[in-house]
Amino acid sequence: MLQETLLKVSMIDVFHGSLQVLWNVSLTIKPGEIVALIGTNSSGKSTLLDTVSSLIHPTKGSIDFEGKSINTLEPYETVDLGISQVPEGRGIFPDMTVLDNLIIGSYNRKARSKREQNLRMVYDLFPRLRERKSQLGNTLSGGEQQMLAIGRGLMSAPKLMLLDEMSLGLAPLVVNYLYETLRGIKQRGITIFFVEQNVRRSLAEAETAYILERGRVVLSGPVAELREEEEIRKAYFGV
């Protein structure tokens, strides 16, 4: 069961209009893993997440989730299958309460019946959200908004959670807290695929990592091996 692949991306090309953003990108994510995608701003990492979420479609190559092709699906169909994205910038609904934000996270049919138990789980992970449940989204601090975005992602009862730049703009203590929560989420059986600019943090938290540079995967593998890699040490640690 652990040998099974959860997400398999094979040699995809992705365009924004006529501009190519990803070239021959391949990656594999196994159930229960924590996988990091490392890259700078223009590397195409958000595009890759958006393609997995079906907001964009690849012009070449294939994406399989649990063995089934998801190349041509609509975004809401991927949520039904169990892929949940916590977008860059959090994307919480500013004029909705914390509770409503969480409720809308359970919009897809399969998640609705599990709503109450998922809500309890989210409040357990993030007690702050229970305290603030009647407040509007835009009155929360950055860290709280990120908690809300993650909590909301959990409400869809996902198998795979995609997190785009979770730590952006947040204080190190808050980031530590959030990564600790991610470990808790992994223990509940949810696979995690996160995008990070901070190399050190990524390699500290993930088991497997992919490094994306200008739309191509330049390095990938178990984190332990990557840390030893000459190129990484030179490029990112200056050693």
Partner: protein, 292 residues
């Protein structure tokens, strides 16, 4: 003392009339709040509701309000189809395309109605439409009261629907942030279609009450569209309660303006109020501050 009592008439008339304006504007507010679409065909679609009720009344002998049992589902379906098959494609072409389509629908409706019903003014002249009721020594048209009650019922129903149901919350979410709404598993295409359909159902209702209150012609749609715009601007886009209050304000502005100034000054005062709101608080009384 007499002055205050005299004022009662324009005040009560203004508030009740405001109900009709709010009722007409609700659909416009919903569509603009959700899809950022200025549905310039809204007035004509409301008139379609009036003519439908008129047909039911004259050809089938059905009471206009009862005819809503047929009228609402029909306009709901028309709205669903317009959004799903016309507007959705238009949005994919450009931001202006849906506006042109709405304009086209408006022209088609006006002309079809003119051919079918002639430019002659019509009215939903039921027995009770001519009744009046009294508050103290003053008498008011019953239909104005019915307009107000209908407006209250529809406003509160819409508000609760948007607040409490999954579809309502989805409509809200999609209007705040479409991309994130998609990531929540919301089928925004379908949600928009439902929103438009609901707006059309309210247009059916407002068409009936409009017809009960005023005589109408195929080109009446435009004047009510402009009024509805005023209501939505004052009350705030996308806020059902705001639209209701906006309607009251506009109704009062009109009747009190007519009372203190003159009948011709009524509309001018109305427009001045709209301009002031646009200058001072463009999102309206209850609107959300628009984020770019």
């Amino acid at each position: 003392m007499t002055d205050l009592a005299e004022l009662l008439t324009p005040i009560v008339m203004g508030v009740l009339l405001g109900g009709l304006y709010a009722l007409i504007a609700l659909g416009l507010s919903l569509v603009f709040g959700v899809m950022k679409l200025i549905n310039v065909a809204h007035g004509d679609l409301v008139l379609f509701g009036s003519y439908f009720a008129y047909a039911a009344m004259t050809l089938l002998g059905v009471d206009p309000i009862l005819s809503l049992v047929m009228g609402m589902p029909i306009l709901f379906a028309i709205g669903f189809v317009i959004q799903k098959y016309l507007m959705k494609r238009a949005f994919g072409i450009s931001m202006e395309a849906p506006l042109l389509i709405a304009f086209g629908i408006s022209l088609i409706l006006q002309n079809v109605q003119q051919i079918t019903w002639s430019p002659m003014a019509r009215g939903l002249t039921t027995p009770y439409a001519l009744e009046s009721f009294s508050i103290g020594p003053f008498r008011f048209p019953l239909c104005y009261l019915l307009d107000f009650i209908a407006a209250l019922v529809v406003t509160l129903s819409l508000r609760e629907f948007l607040r409490r149901t999954y579809l309502g919350k989805a409509i809200n979410a999609a209007s705040q942030d479409k991309r994130t709404a998609l990531l929540m598993g919301i089928n925004t295409g379908r949600v928009y279609a439902f929103a438009f359909a609901i707006a059309m159902a309210t247009a059916a209702i407002s068409g009936v009450f409009l017809g009960l209150t005023f005589p109408f012609t195929p080109t009446s749609g435009i004047s009510f569209l402009i009024l509805a715009f005023g209501v939505v601007i004052i009350g705030g886009l996308g806020s059902m309660l705001g639209t209701f209050i906006g309607g009251m304000i506009l109704g009062l502005a009109q009747t009190l303006g007519g009372y203190f100034a003159s009948a011709t000054a009524q509309m001018l005062i109305l427009y001045i109020i709209v301009l002031v709101v646009l200058a001072v608080r463009p999102q309206g009384l209850f609107g959300r501050k628009q984020r770019t």
